[in-house]
């Protein structure tokens, strides 16, 4: 497999309404890398630049003269770049994907992207079937349903399936799970994990749920005022709750509990990312269970 990063962003600056009195600077020299097959989280308080950043990944926004965005080696600042190919490689799903639906029937909506790519009917149908299966919509039951008759959760699934039908190498989800109820949210995340395992799809998750970030990504970038304020593995970043809180965020409760107990010397400074991990750590700390030293990492490793 190629060593070339899937996405490389260097010195990226961006301002909305540049050159007008309304100019707002959104990005101030961002550097970031997403490797092939990786799951990367992008977090930060509202207005920190998360959405502006990810809209650069597929050329929806273009870098100015100083910054550079490379997707699998192609420079998105270069007008000669084949953007059709970029749009196929990088699938973007927004916060209210319901608004991305426009066809009358579910099947047609999901088939729209592949059709634009010039994919012929039999393969298109297969792609729609596969994409619907990946998001948990039964092909026969849903393909002829009216998009407007779906529930909010089902509409999101259709929107995600529409992006998946393009067979993107990278799936970028910009707060696509917020506002869903807990069980629909868990189901969607489980399906994304499966996509990552089975298809080696690269995932970029923008989220305001720290629990979601803790359990579903490998590395995380924390943005603050258009710059990268922290980055590293999720354990490395969540090992510093005070710093994370200063950036307007929080760590998962289970991580906070372990951190507090480490401060009074009860645990070894391990950083649990899920409730079962936390339970193992605390049982070991109480001498109720054989500890596996270093199993969770301390957050300072690497």
């Amino acid at each position: 497999m190629s060593q070339q990063p899937m996405i490389r962003v260097s010195e990226l600056h961006f301002a909305y309404l540049r050159g007008t009195p309304m100019e707002v600077t959104a990005l101030r020299g961002i550097c970031l890398e997403v490797r092939r097959g990786e799951r990367v989280g992008i977090i930060g308080r509202a207005g920190s630049g998360k959405s502006t950043l990810v809209q650069h990944f597929n050329g929806l926004l273009r870098p100015d003269s100083t910054g550079q965005v490379l997707v699998a080696g192609s420079d998105l600042g270069d007008p000669a770049t084949d953007f059709r190919r970029i749009h196929q490689q990088i699938g973007l799903v927004f916060q209210t994907p319901e608004q991305q639906l426009f066809e009358r029937l579910v099947g047609d909506d999901i088939a729209f992207g592949p059709k634009q790519l010039g994919i012929e009917r039999p393969e298109r149908r297969e792609r729609v079937r596969w994409a619907m299966e990946m998001v948990g919509l039964d092909f026969d039951a849903f393909k002829d349903r009216l998009t407007l008759s779906l529930s909010g959760g089902e509409m999101r699934k259709v929107a995600v399936a529409g992006v998946l039908a393009l067979r993107p190498e990278v799936l970028v989800l910009d707060e696509s799970t917020s506002g869903l109820d807990p069980s629909s949210r868990r189901e969607m995340l489980r399906r994304l994990d499966r996509l990552h395992h089975e298809e080696n799809t690269t995932l970029v998750l923008v989220s305001s749920s720290m629990e979601e970030i803790a359990e579903h990504v490998d590395r995380v970038y924390v943005l603050e005022n258009g710059s990268v304020a922290m980055h590293g593995s999720v354990r490395e970043v969540f090992a510093h709750p005070e710093q994370v809180r200063k950036l307007g965020l929080d760590v998962p409760q289970v991580t906070a509990i372990a951190h507090e107990l480490a401060l009074v010397g009860l645990t070894d400074g391990s950083v649990p990312l899920s409730v079962p991990e936390g339970a193992e750590l605390l049982l070991a700390a109480l001498g109720l269970h054989s500890a596996q030293p270093g199993a969770l990492g301390t957050g300072d490793a690497r």
């Binding site: 308080r45 109820d181 305001s208």
Partner: protein
């Protein structure tokens, strides 16, 4: 705690709500709800999508009227047209998406809008706007344009607009679910002080545990019926039952429950980070004497 002898500010008896009644596929959103909400209470209503929680909220300020049964606000029957305006004066509502509730081009004017429409005269109107903006921590933004604020700031402006109307009951319908952690805690602390300092009755519709933990009482809806009811400590720590209702519990409660399964001497009903930290410390002090401490 609600006083059972006091007259409730909201009284709901046998409330049913059916969407598309008489159609081929009627949807029974609420089914025989009995509920009293008392003056000064902080009530959280939980339930997964489609459980009926937003439908219930919409009955509190007559956005809906019962298909069957009765809803009374301060003794006023919501079915009578002459009661609609007095009830809306009494019950204020904040919705999920603040952009849809912002009407003016300056923060101050937006906050004044509702109260002005109620006919609040000028010197008092000004005082109320100032008080509401101060309560949500947005006084320094009074001259700003609302559309250039962050989502959390906009939601606080929307909340201030409802507060300036001085409602007796404040209904929050998923009012923090689109906010980041900072915006959420800003809005929640404004609501908490309104409840504690002004005695405003708060009804929070939510699926977020941070919000439910704030409440004095929690009810969980399932298929239009009340499935669980009680103080947060009793309801949110019933991990298995909450799961069958397709709801999350706070991670702290789930951790406490898991630890309790493995070691019954650790309490299984801890709800917050602080409680679990204290619980584990206490357990370590009282139980590990004489037991081998792990040396890792």
């Amino acid at each position: 705690m609600p006083d059972s002898r006091a007259e409730p500010i909201v009284k709901i008896r046998g409330l049913r709500h059916t969407f598309g009644a008489g159609s081929v596929r009627p949807v029974h959103a609420l089914d025989a709800i009995d509920l009293d909400i008392f003056q000064g209470e902080y009530l959280a209503i939980l339930g997964h999508n489609g459980s009926g929680k937003s439908t219930l909220a919409r009955h509190l300020n007559v956005l809906l009227v019962p298909t069957e049964g009765e809803v009374y606000v301060r003794g006023m029957d919501t079915r009578l047209p002459q009661n609609v305006l007095p009830i809306r004066r009494c019950v204020g509502m904040v919705f999920q998406v603040p952009d849809n509730q912002i009407v003016a081009s300056v923060v101050e004017e937006d906050v004044a809008f509702g109260a002005e429409n109620l006919g609040v005269p000028e010197p008092e109107l000004h005082e109320r706007v100032e008080w509401a903006l101060a309560a949500v921590g947005m006084l320094t933004f009074r001259d700003r344009e609302p559309h250039r604020l962050s989502a959390g700031q906009k939601q606080r402006v929307a909340l201030a607009g409802v507060m300036a109307m001085k409602p007796d009951v404040l209904v929050l319908d998923e009012a923090t679910s689109m906010l980041d952690p900072e915006g959420r805690s800003q809005v929640l602390s404004a609501v908490r002080s309104l409840n504690q300092n002004e005695g405003t009755t708060v009804v929070a519709i939510t699926h977020l545990m941070d919000e439910a933990v704030e409440a004095g009482r929690v009810i969980v809806l399932q298929r239009g019926r009340i499935a669980l009811e009680g103080p947060p400590h009793n309801v949110l720590t019933q991990v298995e039952q909450m799961r069958t209702l397709q709801l999350d519990v706070p991670q702290a409660a789930e951790l406490s429950w898991l630890l309790h399964q493995r070691e019954p001497s650790i309490p299984g009903d801890l709800l917050t980070v602080r409680e679990v930290v204290e619980g584990v410390r206490l357990h370590a002090e009282t139980h590990t004497n004489g037991r081998q401490q792990p040396t890792t």
